[in-house]
Symmetry: C2
Subunit: 446 residues, 2 copies
């Protein structure tokens, strides 16, 4: 019998590692355990399945278990949940929910790809009817089947606001309840306020500074009063799903994510981690962090799988890029926010500029606001946030690339970015923000 790789989790982190390992090693016996009934799907597509832009769940599935078996020779077991790890015997205890039985499977190498799980506070009534999470494709399928006139979304992060749009599209009346002073806590409050304003313009009842006190059938009790609700969506963010690893004595790091080295190796020989259950490293702050995003998961999976497959690869880290589109509002961020930069110990300048996505005179020119942070004295770029309309968001990639390169804002002012009237003003909004930032750095203003 050959060497066996057991992978826990069949989405971006786990399955991505499995397929990359297969590319490197033809001889590996690869088993993937997935507790839900879906593998290899786009979790980021769930809001669009619910909203109707995506017509069928199949469209979100990149590869079926059958294809993975036939083409990649990966033994995919859906509805199989890893219950415990025995690292001494190098075995995983598995619950087969389909046939209601428990067994053990041995491994030579193990990949932890359990992903993240939705944060679920112990609010009274949270387990009642009509309250839905939105983490797995199964959740998405369930939500898409609901009909509701009045929807309350708890949590105003990316997923919460995307779900708000989804139910708007379905003709529901939508209220978003957020405990913080502003929506999208990954942005600074001044930029979050632009998003709140846009959401209200789109018809969403946004309630910030509002605590959720309890749920009863048909009603959500909040610190701002009762809200009628036919359906409640919980979108309070996620945390690494790592109880299994913790119980086995595998070292955990930030927020309980599996601690990994640059090659995605966990603290135990032959054990790897990738995706939403794994730690990342922030290239700007120089600190470990937890990121639950498909882009990071696929990159880590490629690195882990390459190494397991006998190659050599390292994952340098992330710069904290994220993007979302809610109705016609585009929101993006990368690097450090003011709060994050302060926490990391930086003294910095803040420049916020308003511009347009195309030449001002060109039809379809839309507003865009760019906020840029740069380190005092050095002028090093620290991060940016932007809120705008069509054509705004993808500009964050220039900032992300400049962060990877460790550029100063002065260096950025010289970037030879593309310009034609249908695409940009002659000074791209990112360059306008860089110019303003460079001026602050040179002038020593704060």
């Amino acid at each position: 019998m050959g060497e066996r790789l057991v992978v826990i989790g069949g989405d971006a982190g786990g399955m991505g590692t499995a397929t990359a390992a297969r590319r490197g090693r033809d001889d590996l016996d690869i088993v993937v355990l997935e507790k839900t009934e879906y593998v290899s799907y786009s979790a980021c597509g769930i809001p669009y399945l619910v909203g109707g832009e995506v017509g069928a769940v199949d469209e979100l599935i990149a590869r079926t278990p059958q294809e993975l078996r036939d083409v990649h020779r990966i033994d995919v077991r859906i509805r199989h949940e890893a219950m415990a790890l025995d690292l001494d015997r190098r075995e995983v205890e598995v619950r087969d929910h389909e046939h209601d039985r428990t067994f053990r499977v041995g491994f030579d190498q193990l990949v932890l790809g359990m992903g993240a799980r939705p944060i679920r506070p112990s609010t009274p009534g949270i387990d009642g009817p009509g309250i839905f999470g939105v983490a797995t494709l199964s959740d998405g399928v369930r939500l898409a089947a609901q009909s509701a006139a009045r929807v309350v979304v708890i949590g105003a992060g990316y997923i919460g606001l995307e779900m708000a749009e989804a139910f708007l599209r379905r003709g529901a009346t939508v209220t978003v309840v957020e405990r913080s002073p502003e929506v999208m806590r990954t942005l600074d409050p001044d930029m979050g306020a632009l998003v709140s304003r846009a959401m209200r313009r789109h018809g969403v009842d946004v309630r910030c500074d509002t605590a959720t006190l309890g749920f009863e059938p048909g009603v959500v009790h909040t610190s701002g009063g009762d809200l009628p609700a036919d359906l409640v969506v919980l979108a309070l963010g996620v945390e690494p799903n790592t109880a299994l690893a913790r119980d086995a004595g595998i070292a955990l790091g930030v927020r309980g994510a599996v601690s990994v080295d640059r090659r995605q190796r966990a603290s135990v020989e032959g054990v790897w981690a990738a995706g939403d259950c794994s730690e990342s490293y922030h290239l700007v702050s120089g600190r470990p962090l937890h990121v639950a995003l498909g882009t990071v998961a696929t990159k880590q999976a490629r690195v882990a799988g390459t190494n397991i497959g006998g190659g050599y690869a390292t994952f340098p880290g992330v710069v904290g890029t994220a993007v979302s589109k809610i109705c016609d509002t585009e929101v993006a961020r990368t690097g450090l926010s003011e709060r994050e930069a302060t926490r990391a110990g930086f003294a910095f300048h803040v420049a916020t500029i308003e511009a347009t996505t195309r030449a001002g005179y060109f039809p379809g020119a839309r507003p865009i606001t760019v906020k840029m942070l740069s380190e005092q004295r050095s002028g090093r770029l620290l991060g940016a946030q932007l809120v705008g309309e069509e054509g705004a968001a993808k500009r964050i990639d220039v900032v992300a690339t400049a962060l990877h390169a460790g550029m100063t804002v002065e260096q950025m002012t010289h970037l030879d970015l593309s310009y034609a009237p249908p695409f940009s003003p002659v000074w791209d909004p990112v360059l306008v923000a860089a110019r303003r930032s460079a001026k602050l750095v040179a002038g020593g203003e704060s």
Copy 2:
């Protein structure tokens, strides 16, 4: 009397320098000489004025002479043409076309911002009626006033194809004649072929490998036969408009552009150059080149003006970025093409990939082809070209930024670019191209 700055040319290079100099020095006496009747306008907007997306010429004008006089205290003289430079006496001989007189104006510092002039071969009949250039806003205004059922565009570069679209929009039958084997010689022929195909799909009769032999009223004689033409647009590219500088003994460089140092200083003390008449430096090839683009002109102008204004600034150079939209086809390039890389002495890998602009399942996902060049052995990124539809073009900015940073394609594979289904597949097309390139570098394939 204070120190006088005379600026020759009132668009991006010249006027941009004048306004930047004013920001630095309040005391300067600034005179701008402009031979046409327009200053401070968007030349890149001309095709959209002709095509009707831009309704009035005023929309293309950033600042009127009156505003420049009142707000910036710049003495703007339109229809004033600089005829000769007397560098010993430090005087410019000026022809006032309005009042039909000639006079001299003295300067302490001089800015050469004469721009570029359209290449105009000595084809028989080229000065006949119905044959138009497209370089200045005056040209644009004249073209916008024409009505023509059959239009022939000579030259299939960016401007030629944008003008083809403009006349398509006006309901004309449009033929483009190009001497080279493919359209858009700034792309490699394989990528140019994608543009040709798209142009034909849009209804343009594209004739490559076709020489223009002569013009007669109503007809263009070509090596492929006669073409009926109510109107002919000459779009054969531009060359630096530097006869004035050459005659005065100012050093010229590549293609006759004014030779400048990093601060935009010409070879004569107190003489500066910026914009389409000035040389640039290519950060990838390490060689001087001539670029006639608004983005480069405004950047050089900012540098020249800052220096004249008593500050310190240098222009590091360009990476050769350009972008265009023709009907729904988006075309972009940066860095070196195969021809340019070969000429610069690089041995390189070529990776060409096809992807989509959004997640494949998301409505509005459009095709995009990315071609990427990377240096053999080092894996250094050398350039990229892309052709696609809505959402494709601006992705070139990531490549441009990576070129500025001197990244390798392997480093690029780790870029934390933004992803959400409405904006990108989980692996952005640029990252897919970088992955393919990195594989070629690692494997030593060519």
